[in-house]
């Protein structure tokens, strides 16, 4: 190339003197204005979203805490039931839903007659199962509670005494006849 210095200088001069396209200032200011407006309008939209998320998180925390709480008398029940076992006692919240459900139905099938457990608490099946009962579990529950009133009567000493007296009386009525009466009756 002839005279490369001159060509280099011309090229660099062209770069140096390049003029921006007309209206560039205006377009830049417009873009900044739009960017500023976007930032302004996007900011308040975030605040309610954050507030709603926090409220939801708070509500869930309160709900979980409330349902995790077990009354003191039932806590002793849980401890008594689990005492002979080697496993550490578990709360309903610690169990998986399936585990909680099977444990509950097992408790309903084989009620423990601990002295401090009232019948009402036992029949209520507390703590509540984590999932709705299956059809089989409902059937077992119905079978287990079918003669509850009679079974409870059997445990009552007064009723037992009355029944025993009644049976004795019937026995006496039947076997208490004297020998002559039996003989005449047979003749």
């Amino acid at each position: 190339m002839k005279d490369p210095d001159r060509t280099i200088e011309n090229l660099l001069a062209g770069l140096r003197d390049a003029e921006p396209p007309p209206g560039m200032h205006h377009r830049i200011l417009d873009a900044m204005l739009a960017g500023r407006a976007t930032a302004y309008y996007s900011r308040p939209r975030l605040q309610p979203a954050i507030a709603i998320s926090l409220a939801c998180a708070l509500a869930i925390t309160i709900w979980v805490q409330h349902h995790r709480h077990i009354p003191a008398n039932l806590r002793s029940y849980t401890t008594n039931v689990d005492a002979p076992r080697t496993k550490p006692p578990q709360t309903a919240a610690d169990r998986t839903p399936r585990e909680a459900r099977t444990t509950t139905s097992r408790a309903l099938l084989k009620p423990t007659h601990a002295s401090e457990v009232s019948y009402a608490e036992e029949s209520a099946g507390f703590p509540a199962p984590a999932l709705p009962l299956t059809e089989q579990e409902k059937l077992l529950l119905r079978l287990a509670h079918r003669n509850d009133a009679q079974d409870m009567n059997l445990l009552n000493r007064n009723v037992q005494a009355q029944q025993s007296a009644k049976a004795t009386q019937q026995f006496q009525q039947f076997f208490g006849m004297d020998t002559n009466e039996m003989r005449s009756e047979s003749e």
Partner: protein, 191 residues
């Protein structure tokens, strides 16, 4: 003009109170310089304008921390420089030169010699692309008349003496290669 003033007024009105920097004034002062810097790297006027816009949008985003910027001019130049280099990486080199050389030649030369000059410009641009990166960067920044050696050194994070040495080497290498170019072409034809 009136609409530009209105826009500037609106922009200054909605700025936050803690931002002490006058953004419309910044645009007025630096947009041409930043455009030239981006244009020298990208060789495209539209892309250079996009880069300038990006620079000022970034300034707007960081307007609250602008007070901590020591040298606003160097800071803006560095942002524009880095954004332009970043854009250039996404382009194919052969996309750069054709139109740009023609537009430069037609802007500086009469029409009868513009074609020939455009051809020469293309050769120079191609050789600039082949220079080592540091030399190429110094050469391109030195083309912008408003930039002194100290500012180029600050933008490229090098010492002033290193900038001077790189610039001298870049020019010498470029001249040498351009002088050798016809001989290489003739040698290639002979073969």
């Amino acid at each position: 003009m009136a609409s530009t003033e209105g826009c500037s007024l609106a922009l200054s009105f909605i700025e936050d109170a803690p931002s002490a920097v006058d953004l419309p004034a910044l645009v007025d002062t630096y947009s041409t310089l930043l455009f030239r810097i981006a244009n020298s790297v990208l060789r495209s006027r539209t892309e250079a304008e996009d880069v300038v816009q990006d620079v000022f949008i970034r300034v707007l985003e960081h307007r609250l921390s602008l007070a901590t910027v020591r040298d606003m001019r160097v800071w803006l130049i560095r942002i524009a420089w880095n954004l332009a280099l970043d854009r250039k990486r996404r382009k194919r080199p052969d996309q750069l030169d054709e139109m740009f050389a023609e537009s430069l030649a037609s802007a500086t030369m009469p029409a009868d010699t513009a074609m020939e000059e455009a051809q020469r410009f293309r050769s120079v641009l191609r050789e600039i692309e082949r220079l080592p990166k540091a030399e190429r960067h110094v050469l391109l920044l030195s083309a912008i008349e408003e930039l002194g050696t100290a500012e180029i050194a600050a933008v490229l994070r090098r010492s002033e003496s290193a900038v001077r040495a790189l610039l001298s080497r870049a020019r010498a290498r470029l001249r040498e290669r351009l002088e050798d170019r016809p001989r290489l072409k003739e040698g290639g034809k002979a073969r």
